[in-house]
């Protein structure tokens, strides 16, 4: 097994999940993850693999996001239309979709650094790895994470409340 193969097997799942959560698009996430591993191929040595991979993936997203913003938006719209065309008979499905949408909003409301730190932490990166990937001082990771978590939960709760109110109004 080559080194890249090992890297892929070890980190691909976490990386794709991280990117999916970051981007809200699984296909895009997989593309970026693959590109990340291609970049890893070109490296002669990587010190902290996980931190390196997450850092490169994050930068790729940033670069690509800038370049492709408009195209992506168009595609996202198309995808949305397609999704709307599908039957949605189940309440649980609707609930889940609502949850996902609120989670998306709450995550998007975070500052970029907070969001990335939090998503990396969820994939098991330790404080040093997060600090390395995001070029933070290790001492500030705790503060970053605590802020990110608090804000995420709080804005989610706000969204949840307004959703409940909307439902109540709709019912009455």
């Amino acid at each position: 097994m080559t080194d890249v193969e090992r890297l892929f097997r070890t980190y691909n799942a976490a990386l794709v999940r991280y990117l999916t959560r970051r981007l809200g698009d699984r296909d895009w996430a997989e593309e970026v993850a693959q590109e990340t591993f291609v970049r890893a191929l070109r490296q002669t040595s990587i010190q902290n693999e996980r931190a390196w991979l997450f850092a490169v993936a994050t930068n790729l997203v940033r670069d690509e996001a800038r370049r492709d913003m408009r195209r992506r938006k168009h595609l996202a719209l198309l995808a949305e239309e397609e999704r709307d065309a599908m039957v949605e008979p189940e309440e649980t499905t609707l609930e889940r979709a609502q949850e996902a949408a609120m989670a998306r909003k709450a995550v998007d409301a975070l500052a970029e650094r907070d969001r990335l730190a939090l998503l990396m932490r969820e994939e098991g990166l330790d404080y040093n790895e997060i600090a390395e990937a995001l070029e933070l001082s290790p001492g500030s990771v705790g503060t970053t994470l605590s802020r990110a978590r608090r804000r995420l939960v709080e804005s989610y709760e706000v969204l949840q409340k307004s959703q409940e109110e909307r439902e109540k109004n709709a019912a009455s």
Binding site: D25, R150, L152
Partner: protein
């Protein structure tokens, strides 16, 4: 000591502090109710944010997850009902069989009932008068094969061994396409010969049972249908609450295509090739001569046939060659049902079989598991039969 700041608390809970620092924090939390409360709150934030982030994973990818889920729920409901029925009928069949002169292989029913998670598809049907030429079927210990992980036991090998007139057909089958090629579930059964003129004493135990369990899901996931001297009505009742209807007939040269809606927004396509194709099955009358046919392996996963194969042979029918083959043989939904092959490609499963009445090759495809499609096929055939009957003067 000063109160702990939030960042430190999170670092501590995340295990990011040195042993020394951690001990200090821990000691402080012990004696400071205010910080203990802050720790509790931080734990709440950590858990809640994890949960919120998990909700992000609910991202559709290309295919239609919504419809898929809706469908599986519908199926699950009547599958559960089917499971209950199978158990009941299995017991019934066993009871009847013990009092009779001829034993029924319906004994396999309890097997499937016992191991609902094993992916057993048992297909037991009434005995026939025909003599089986299948060496495997004649083996005194015809085995009910099951997934290696959850071996189904042949309920009573000796009993089964005595049933020389009956064939035993074990087929690999699974409702989860991905599983089909890897850890095939099993269809164990005996072919029906539910002809009325054949319904003499042997038919008292007549019962067709199909139990398909999703090997992964671990729940009973199949249809149970009863076909026998008096079982047809029951099998109709099992057609379930969902009705099939025709929603379109796209025109294609050389084929007759019909779109059926099996659930709102959920359609399957039935294509009837208007000429006989070679990869189908040869059927001669009711006693079908089945030529087990290998399906095109390149196109998708296929179901392998395992275990003994024999076929029902009506008195007036030819002997069939019942050699075990890698063909996919689905349990018959009706006595006239013929062998069918199953292919799965990109989530779309296609059943191929030959319509015994017309000799035409039928293809039924949709985003369903093989087991579900087989059941849909049965319902479509019922519908077509009803329509054909109506047309007749």
């Amino acid at each position: 000591m000063q109160h702990l700041d939030e960042g430190t608390i999170h670092s501590w809970l995340d295990g990011a502090l040195s042993a020394e620092e951690a001990a200090r924090v821990s000691a402080h939390v012990e004696e400071c109710p205010q910080c203990a409360a802050a720790v509790a709150e931080a734990r709440g934030f950590i858990a809640a944010s994890s949960r919120i982030l998990t909700a992000l994973d609910n991202v559709p990818k290309g295919v239609v997850p919504v419809a898929e889920r809706a469908k599986s729920r519908n199926w699950a409901a009547w599958r559960a009902a089917a499971a209950v029925l199978v158990v009941a009928l299995g017991s019934f069949a066993v009871l009847r069989e013990r009092t009779g002169t001829q034993r029924s292989v319906a004994e396999v029913a309890p097997i499937s009932a016992r191991s609902p998670a094993s992916g057993v598809v048992a297909d037991t049907v009434s005995p026939t008068t025909a003599e089986s030429k299948s060496a495997l079927a004649e083996a005194p210990t015809a085995k009910v094969l099951a997934k290696p992980s959850t071996p189904a036991r042949a309920a009573n090998p000796s009993a089964i061994g005595k049933i020389e007139n009956r064939g035993m057909e074990a087929q690999d089958r699974a409702s989860v396409p991905a599983v089909i090629s890897q850890s095939p579930a099993v269809v164990a059964g005996v072919r029906p010969e539910a002809r009325v003129d054949n319904a003499a004493p042997q038919n008292f135990g007549a019962a067709t049972m199909k139990v398909a369990a999703e090997p992964l899901g671990g729940r009973v996931a199949g249809a149970a249908s009863i076909v026998g001297a008096s079982g047809a009505a029951m099998s109709d009742a099992l057609a379930g609450p969902t009705s099939i209807r025709v929603v379109g007939t796209p025109r294609v040269i050389g084929e007759k295509r019909t779109l059926y809606e099996v659930a709102p927004g959920d359609t399957v396509l039935l294509a009837e090739a208007l000429k006989l194709e070679l990869n189908s099955v040869v059927v001669t009358g009711l006693g079908a001569t089945r030529t087990a046919q290998s399906t095109d392996t390149s196109a998708g996963r296929q179901i392998r046939l395992r275990g003994a194969t024999s076929r029902p042979v009506a008195p007036d029918s030819q002997r069939s060659n019942a050699a075990p083959s890698p063909a996919a043989a689905a349990p018959p939904a009706s006595p006239t049902a013929s062998l069918q092959s199953v292919q799965t490609l990109n989530g779309v499963t296609t059943l191929t079989w030959t319509d015994p009445a017309s000799g035409n090759t039928m293809r039924l495809s949709g985003k369903h598991s093989a087991a579900e499609l087989t059941e849909i096929r049965r319902r479509i055939e019922q519908l077509r039969a009803a329509e054909a009957a109506k047309k007749k003067p």
